[in-house]
Symmetry: D2
Subunit: 187 residues, 4 copies
């Protein structure tokens, strides 16, 4: 069963199309060590946890409304040994070291960039999800300040087609979720 069917819904989550691109472009694999913030409902943390097992995902969340949902979703996915919930504010610091990937999906993502830089292994990657261009610009500025390299920003548009009686794109569809920015900590 697709693991996401097991999830309880909470705050707006990164969609599967974007989570998948994070997985594919970051090149992480089983055994990788990931820091994820904010957890939200835990979708991205459990998605990555599923494929990184026996690695670890440390997912930060300091909004008390979401903590129980995250815990429930980690358990529903059977990932208690893989996904660790950190009830903390990622903009105040990251405890982990030698991290392969940091994923940031929070309003103040730019304030977490310096902590991500410190936590990452040389050559490790950061991925930031930006709903708006203003968010994106703030993040890019910080990434450049900390000399991240290979910056790549993309939009991921999945366009649905109808194939019932005739073949044509759907009239209406999802035009935007967020901008995804990938960057590498210089070695």
């Amino acid at each position: 069963m697709p693991f996401r069917r097991k999830l309880k819904r909470g705050p707006q989550v990164v969609l599967p199309k974007d989570a998948a691109l994070i997985l594919a472009y970051s090149g992480i694999a089983p055994g990788s060590k990931v820091v994820d913030a904010g957890a939200g409902s835990g979708f991205l943390a459990t998605f990555l946890g599923t494929y990184l097992k026996p690695g670890k995902v440390y997912t930060y969340e300091n909004d008390e409304r979401f903590l129980q949902i995250v815990k429930d979703n980690i358990r529903a996915c059977g990932l208690e040994d893989v996904v660790v919930l950190r009830e903390a504010d990622v903009t105040k610091g990251i405890k982990e070291k030698n991290v392969d990937l940091v994923t940031l999906d929070l309003k103040d993502a730019k304030k977490a960039v310096k902590h991500a830089h410190k936590a990452l292994v040389d050559g490790g990657m950061i991925v930031v999800y930006s709903p708006t261009v203003e968010h994106l610009m703030g993040v890019i500025k910080e990434l450049k300040k900390y000399k991240f390299t290979e910056l790549k920003t993309v939009e991921n548009i999945v366009r649905e087609w109808k194939t019932d009686l005739t073949t044509r794109p759907e009239t209406m569809g999802l035009m935007h979720t967020g901008f995804l920015t990938f960057a590498k900590k210089i070695k």
Copy 2:
């Protein structure tokens, strides 16, 4: 290291953006059993193999020019225990049973649909990659004939942005790779 950097290049491959969507939308996970055809250079087989371990990927290829590339790439990824190369024509039959996912990326994909149907577990998924609408139409017709359900066809467009001095989409970019069709074997 992103595993795809290890790969030898051969015939045109499914791109990471499309492979990622196949992973995310099919919902397969570690332990899943997959049949993949044609192997091409083995990109999709090794991508899926990386994340399905300790599951199995049986990848079919009958073009002799590609066989050595596939073998080399399986070894380069250290997936000898996960990805099995079948030197056979998938349109003639699939040996495996109780398969969770069949992925088809070949000219005659429609001729493999009936074999996929037989090989799949109830509730298992098929994903077909169609470079053209004619290919897509042929596939849809076969999927309907074998009563596959939950047909979903999408295009996946990744649009790159520039963020060097100013912020704007790249002028030129990749507009099309293929149509991805997902369907489920009825329970």
Copy 3:
């Protein structure tokens, strides 16, 4: 006042974005002679008529439900001297000769291609609006049969952005109206 505000609504119409592309890509100008079918509510005919004045637009319609709407819209736009309503089935024939442009937006567009070919001046253009790929394929086949040249098929996607508090694309939007095919009668 934008002339389209004057129009009575009837059947689904070609949208301004598509009408504009027809104008720009066909290169017609004041004085041009156009045949348009089917009239629908008369949007495309009056749009083109506005800019082709003192040319002529002959707009064919044989669905009796729409005739009064077309007449009302021609009058509302003050184009009685420019847009002529032909209460006839364009798939049965086109009376006009030496036409600069034929625009087809009807289910049986492919059946009108031969009449368009006869009506067009050497070097004249045809534009066909196809809601589905099946429609498009039927039209392309006919265009090739009558040796039309410079075939060009496009989708025109207008993506709206929000700029109220932050800057970002609209979440949902119009993903598809139709395929526009442009072709030229060989000289």
Copy 4:
């Protein structure tokens, strides 16, 4: 003959797809009075001039390298009575009054917004072409400052399809030209 074939090439021009959208969304018609800046090679001025005749287009340009090209193109289109070249810097002021539409395609577009506001008739429209988001943001801020209403920003993506042997979108294509912002002077 499509009038744009007559044009001499100079600096980068607004493409037909974008010029067409400006025509259709601004709702201008024969007799309208337009101010256009900067002229560049005169493409947009002559495009609009063609369809606004017997109206007027006043096109501003202060880059001496382009003046002769604009003059040549106005003459090549036979629009000497319609398109008037103003050898002046639009950011310093606009002489015309009661203008129906102001189109801005220049680096310092935001500095021309106040002059556009003064030149426009009540209910008149402004359209600004922004190659980057930074440009767009500067323009939006000025438009709000001068209380323009009905702000609408769009991207216009024309995606080409191949229909030779099979039917499929072109692999590579034009992903971005500019953002078009439309706004109305409050009545």
